[in-house]
């Protein structure tokens, strides 16, 4: 089984593909992130399709990296007398031109001596791995499933066949370019290999220019840029919706059942993305995130849904795909996400805080945006005392989560701060002030355990919760108080998974069988918490340790096996990358 961290992300901000170090493209949904997979081998087994371009015989990887500050991935294999290189990417900017919405370009080139390569192109569609109707048009191999068409072309197109491996010789100075174009409910657009390659090169230059807008003074700038690029690649450009990850059902425990569909947008993650983009100097992206967030949630207001589809609908009901073997036999493979029906109080806090971050940075809210925010704060003021499912979306009975109360306090507090520069009636202000005071009193009294010297997971619980690492940043308590430092230290000690890794809560305490890995965003929140409580050197050490645990391409999943260091869960994970950026931002200022 190919390790999760072995995969590189290719993307065009409408959909994404995962490519392994042996050149196998094992995951790609069309026409967008949450569509059906045409290459689904990652969780669907070999019957679910893949597209491999690599050496004809196994060769060691000599070098694998993204071209600097771009989304173009380059993998080189060492042959006895030379090297074979695969350069691949998707063209992101196809607007305003006669180009297909999805354009995947993969080029094989050789150095030193001619190299033998193998091509295996086997697209299958959806849950039942439907084979396509195949036709040949000139050098194009056209695969069709009703309204969806996919074409493959290359300089040596005539020899290619669907589902059958073909070998070819790549000579130095004569690269072979493979172009996949996809059309959904529209005609296919033919792009010649040379033209496609030129488009990919131009796209690389655009990404590099985009990365050039990132604040030049950021610490760990390369890692931050890779994270920002990943976040942007996971943002669906037609609506601005950020997907949590491009995959479904990569397991939190190999062989286990914690397999979820993350191809949707969580308002909470979007809000964290706002702060990450804004802090790095990418104001347009931050505004785009907030715009999506407020428009997508419009039909449900003042309720804030836990997650939404890319065009702001509620996600489909969760179900399991029959017969899908799962990654490392981790079943079920799920589509849809049952967490959509949950009541989560913390989401409001993240969203209102994102709006406050925008206001603080000098971007006043439009009256409509402020109206939406007021609605969210009103709802929190009315319902903060109810139990909820909490940030970790545990599918059991709702409880009084301390983190949720903390975020409810944050929502009201940030609402009041925004109100200092935006219109708010006196009656509403008084109501919000009363709610903020009441939440503060309640959470300080019921959420803190003197015996543990820490805030707890829920009222009266002996467990801790790593989400409480946001405590120093919220403002409910003085970041240098003993209660805050005690909470940070207690979480670090009692939820430690070794080194900088933390479990989000005591393993196994979520009502499901089996266990899970350490939760990476929490480790980056630890960096922020340490930096914000005056322990910058410690924070720096933790951060550097975490950077060393990235995949070889600088990507992170949601979780990590504390013993083996293997990445676990859907990949790459937007929340982890947003948390990385926020941690780096916290390290920029000795006292944030």
């Amino acid at each position: 089984m190919t390790p999760i961290a072995d995969y590189g992300l290719l993307g065009d901000t409408r959909t994404a593909a995962l490519s392994s170090s042996d050149g196998s493209l094992d995951w790609m949904c069309v026409p967008r992130f949450d569509g059906e997979p045409v290459f689904g081998r990652l969780v669907g087994g070999s019957a679910a399709g893949s597209f491999r371009l690599g050496p004809a015989v196994p060769l060691p990887v000599a070098d694998r990296r993204y071209r600097e500050h771009t989304a173009t991935l380059q993998t080189s294999w060492a042959a006895p007398d030379g090297r074979l290189t695969l350069t691949e990417g998707m063209v992101a900017d196809v607007g305003g031109q006669l180009l297909p919405a999805t354009l995947l370009v993969r080029r094989l080139s050789a150095e030193g001596a001619p190299a033998r390569a193998r091509v295996h192109f086997d697209p299958r569609l959806g849950e039942r791995h439907r084979p396509p109707r195949v036709r040949r048009r000139g050098t194009d191999l056209v695969c069709e499933w009703g309204t969806l068409a996919l074409s493959l072309t290359c300089e040596e197109g005539a020899a290619l066949e669907v589902g059958r491996s073909t070998t070819l010789t790549v000579s130095p100075g004569r690269p072979v370019t493979f172009v996949v174009t996809i059309a959904h409910r529209e005609p296919l657009v033919h792009v010649s290999p040379d033209a496609a390659w030129a488009l990919l090169e131009a796209d690389g230059s655009r990404w590099a220019a985009w990365a050039g807008r990132v604040d030049p003074d950021l610490p760990f700038r390369d890692a931050v840029i890779r994270s920002l690029l990943t976040l942007r690649l996971l943002t669906y450009s037609p609506s601005g919706a950020p997907v949590a990850a491009p995959t479904t059902s990569l397991p939190e425990q190999p062989g286990g059942l914690r397999n979820w569909d993350y191809r949707y947008a969580w308002p909470r993650d979007a809000s964290i993305g706002v702060a990450a983009f804004l802090g790095a100097g990418l104001g347009d992206e931050a505004r785009g995130f907030l715009w999506w967030l407020l428009h997508a949630s419009r039909l449900q207001r003042p309720r804030l849904p836990v997650l939404l589809t890319l065009d702001g609908r509620l996600p489909p009901a969760e179900r399991s795909l029959r017969g899908w073997p799962g990654y490392a036999a981790s079943t079920p493979v799920r589509v849809g996400n049952g967490a959509a029906d949950q009541h989560q109080l913390d989401g409001y806090g993240w969203v209102v805080d994102a709006a406050w971050v925008m206001v603080r940075a000098g971007h006043p809210l439009y009256s409509e945006t402020w109206r939406a925010i007021r609605g969210f704060v009103d709802r929190v003021s009315e319902r903060w005392s109810e139990p909820d499912a909490g940030i970790w979306e545990i599918r059991g009975d709702a409880v009084q989560h301390v983190h949720s109360k903390l975020m409810a306090w944050l929502a009201v507090d940030r609402g009041l701060r925004i109100a200092e520069t935006h219109r708010l009636s006196d009656r509403r202000r008084r109501r919000w002030l009363a709610a903020r005071d009441a939440i503060g009193v309640d959470v300080r009294a019921a959420g803190y355990s003197s015996a543990l010297g820490s805030y707890t997971r829920s009222y009266g619980s002996p467990d801790l919760d790593a989400a409480l690492l946001v405590l120093p940043l919220v403002g409910l308590e003085d970041p240098h108080s003993s209660r805050v430092r005690g909470t940070v230290d207690a979480i670090r000690e009692r939820l430690s998974a070794g080194g900088p890794l933390l479990f989000r809560y005591p393993p196994g305490r979520d009502g499901l069988d089996g266990t899970e890995g350490a939760f990476l965003p929490c480790s980056f929140w630890l960096v922020r918490a340490l930096a914000c409580t005056g322990r910058r050197d410690e924070a720096l050490r933790v951060f550097q340790d975490l950077l060393a645990r990235a995949s070889s391409l600088g990507l992170y999943a949601e979780e990590m096996d504390p013993t083996t260091g293997a990445h676990l869960g859907n990949f790459p994970q937007a929340l982890t990358h947003a948390a990385l950026v926020q941690a780096a931002l916290a390290l920029r200022e000795p006292e944030a």
Binding site: D93, L99, W291, D311
Partner: protein
């Protein structure tokens, strides 16, 4: 041709149509906000856009009302149900032609090909406006039936 009726009742019918759409939007049935969609052709400030969009919408409504008036004049007949039938045709054109092609002329609307350098702020409505909520076609249908019926009721066929 009832020119005076067209001038007055075209505005009335468009205002009613806008009111139905806005009410549906406020009731959480659709995210389609016609004044916003039209107004952002001119400005990116949503508040100003709504005002500008309403004026544009009145103008567009007058153009469509002219078509209704011409049909009534040609048929020498104007009834609420005939207006309703024209409303059906009207909404079909709006949902299946005008909304899907809007990204092609709207400077602040993404297309499904939008990429990172797109400066768009509005998501594309998609076929039948379904990207703005599954009930959007129903709301649009109701609004246009009201529009057509109002014109059929108020315009005289001469």
């Amino acid at each position: 041709m009832d020119w005076a009726g067209w001038a007055v009742f075209g505005l009335v019918a468009t205002s009613v149509l806008t009111a139905v759409m806005t009410t549906a939007q406020l009731a959480g049935l659709t995210r389609l906000d016609l004044p916003l969609v039209l107004g952002t052709i001119l400005t990116e400030d949503p508040d100003r856009a709504r005002l500008a969009g309403f004026v544009i919408h009145l103008g567009v409504g007058q153009v469509f009302a002219l078509g209704y008036a011409l049909v009534f004049a040609l048929l020498h007949r104007a009834t609420w149900w005939l207006g309703g039938l024209l409303g059906l045709l009207h909404v079909a054109v709006v949902l299946m032609v005008l909304l899907p092609v809007l990204p092609g002329l709207h400077p602040r609307m993404a297309s499904h090909r939008a990429g990172p350098v797109s400066r768009a702020v509005l998501e594309p409505p998609g076929l039948l406006g379904l990207n703005y909520g599954v009930q959007t076609p129903v709301v649009a249908l109701a609004a246009h039936l009201v529009y057509g019926a109002a014109l059929g009721l108020l315009l005289q066929a001469r």
